[in-house]
Subunit: 343 residues, 2 copies
DNA sequence: TTGAAAGCGGTACCAA
DNA sequence: TTGGTACCGCTTTCAA
């Protein structure tokens, strides 16, 4: 209704008095067309306000210039920031992103999101997959659909991944605390073994602990917490840890959400942060940065940057290049929740 | 490369021994086809792992089941939450969302984002537009392209809008402070007149002030701040306000970012929140909720919910219904930054 | 350099 | 109920 009929390549052809093919050539700068004709076509197209129909082009070329982006929680600023980076690059290169949200790490939802995206014949897919979703993503690999996994990687899946160096991140987090004089450094762990990024952070943490003069047992300094994104759960876990280990003077929480839980736990236990307990997180989400009273010391993941890189990787894959994994170095961001150990 | 050729409607036709047309009918449950044939076609399609090509269908039907979503900062959890709501509904109804990020309220970027989205022949557009972008969005209206504006509305533009009742929100925010005994209630204003949502909140605030026994002059209790999303700028504005008006015992900041700035200002000025100064924000973003020490009292905007509603509105528009504006009631969320006035 | 025609994968219209 | 055919808007192949 009221919708203006869009001008097509044929309209221009008729107007200029050439064939549709010539118009197509001129529009795509294919060269083999005489300059005056080309110019006239371009002018007419412009005057008539021509916009190519990407669908039609996609249908014949088998390309859509569409990318799929799948993540478990787009409302989290963490994923939204990565998406923002992807989108920015896309807009520059003529791509568009379509979104698949896999609410709350439900494999079924994730699988549905992927199906929908595949039905759109996207040129490539960037996903922060559930590590258990091997069977969901495996078909992408075997069918050769460009696919980059970010954040998490699915064990055994032969698809390039982009992530921060989690082991190193865990290491510098613990090193930071050790350099402040702490030796009894707690860790909020997960009991879900498939979250490799967490176990890598744990590994870095234990490696740093090795440099301590007196040896400590990392296992005794850890608690398990089922969901490290849940502040309440992390708080409860931290309370347990702190009450059972009175000697702990610092805690490394492998996510910022967990770190916030830890600070909350300290507060409830009447311990001051950082005077009594130092706390360091991981990710550097907005929530860590914009704490009014206690901005969190944490390990940063460059999020927008990861979006850029993910786009570049998928672009290379689309153009047929072979690429390998990319690993970004995380950085220590010292803010207010860590301080020198004072016994 | 290695990409399996997708099975098309013709492959199924050949396999079953019917025409492509019959396959199309069967697949779309168009009815006028005999049950056994229908069944066989469906089975074969399933067995061959058939997936329809949405592009091809869109090309002929003139529909894409694609929606455009435009906002100024997708990395903000506020917009990301709305998007999340839109996406959830979309996934249920066979739509997909493509994203247009209009970084930092730059009209040119916004206009480009819209062009890209229009080139995709989307069925409808949901946008949180810059209020100054009249000329960018006007063509949508005159060409009858389904369009819903959320959050902000462009003055004079004849397109349905969805937003919170900002005047009412401003009113209940100020009422809350008044009920706590405050009468000198400061306001962080913007000097940019086109942000109607802010001026509406201000209007609600002044209306509430009218109920005070002794009359106060709202203008004397306001400062201008250019960017109410910028915490630093808001902090500086608040410091100025607080230093020039020693009698102020409460501040209404019309965004949560500004409210965080105000709390920071209080801290720097050696004033306690909420003992010396009560602070209330607006929006209820994650940053307000997850403050460790001082979760913010604020006025909530249901974000996910707005995503749902925006989808419903655009869906109605697409199906040709006439719809009118929708206004949601915001709610007071009392947390820790407001307290009884004690002179 | 240019034009005519085929075809991408579907749907819609018509006739059988 | 079914099949044939045109066509959506564009690119590609082949001839001219």
């Amino acid at each position: 209704m009221g919708e203006r009929k869009r001008v097509t390549i044929k309209d221009i052809a008729r107007e200029v008095g050439v064939s549709a093919h010539s118009v197509s050539l001129a529009l795509n700068n294919q060269g083999r067309i005489s300059e005056p004709v080309r110019k006239k076509i371009l002018e007419t197209a412009d005057r008539m306000n021509y916009r190519p129909n990407i669908l039609a082009r996609g249908l014949v070329q088998g390309r859509t210039y569409l990318l799929g982006f799948i993540c478990p929680a787009i409302h989290e600023s963490f994923f939204a920031s990565i998406l923002s980076g992807v989108e920015e690059k896309c807009s520059r290169k003529g791509y568009d992103v379509i979104l698949g949200n896999a609410f709350g790490r439900d494999i079924k939802t994730e699988s549905d999101a992927l199906s929908r995206i595949l039905d759109r014949k996207v040129d490539g897919i960037i996903a922060a997959p559930d590590p258990r979703a091997y069977s969901v993503y495996e078909p992408l690999v075997s069918e050769g659909i460009p696919f980059v996994q970010i954040m998490t990687r699915i064990p055994g899946l032969n698809a390039p991944s982009l992530s921060v160096d989690n082991e190193y991140g865990g290491y510098i987090a613990a090193r930071h605390l050790i350099e402040l004089g702490h030796s009894n450094i707690g860790f909020i762990n997960t009991d879900l073994p498939f979250y490799e990024e967490i176990s890598q952070r744990y590994k870095g943490y234990t490696r740093a602990l090795l440099s301590l003069e007196q040896s400590v047992n990392p296992q005794q300094l850890s608690v398990a917490c089922e969901n490290l994104i849940d502040i309440e759960q992390s708080k409860e876990a931290a309370k347990k840890l702190l009450m059972e280990n009175r000697s702990i003077s610092a805690v490394f929480a492998p996510t910022d959400h967990a770190a916030i839980g830890v600070v909350n736990a300290c507060l409830e236990l009447g311990k001051r942060v950082p005077e009594d307990i130092s706390v360091i997180g991981f990710d550097d989400i907005d929530l860590a940065h914009y704490q009014i009273m206690r901005p969190l010391t944490t390990i940063s993941q460059p999020k927008q940057e990861q979006g850029y890189l993910a786009f570049e990787m998928i672009e290379q894959l689309i153009s047929g290049e072979k690429i390998s994994d990319r690993i970004i170095k995380p950085e220590l961001i010292t803010r207010t929740t860590t301080a020198k150990f004072n016994k």
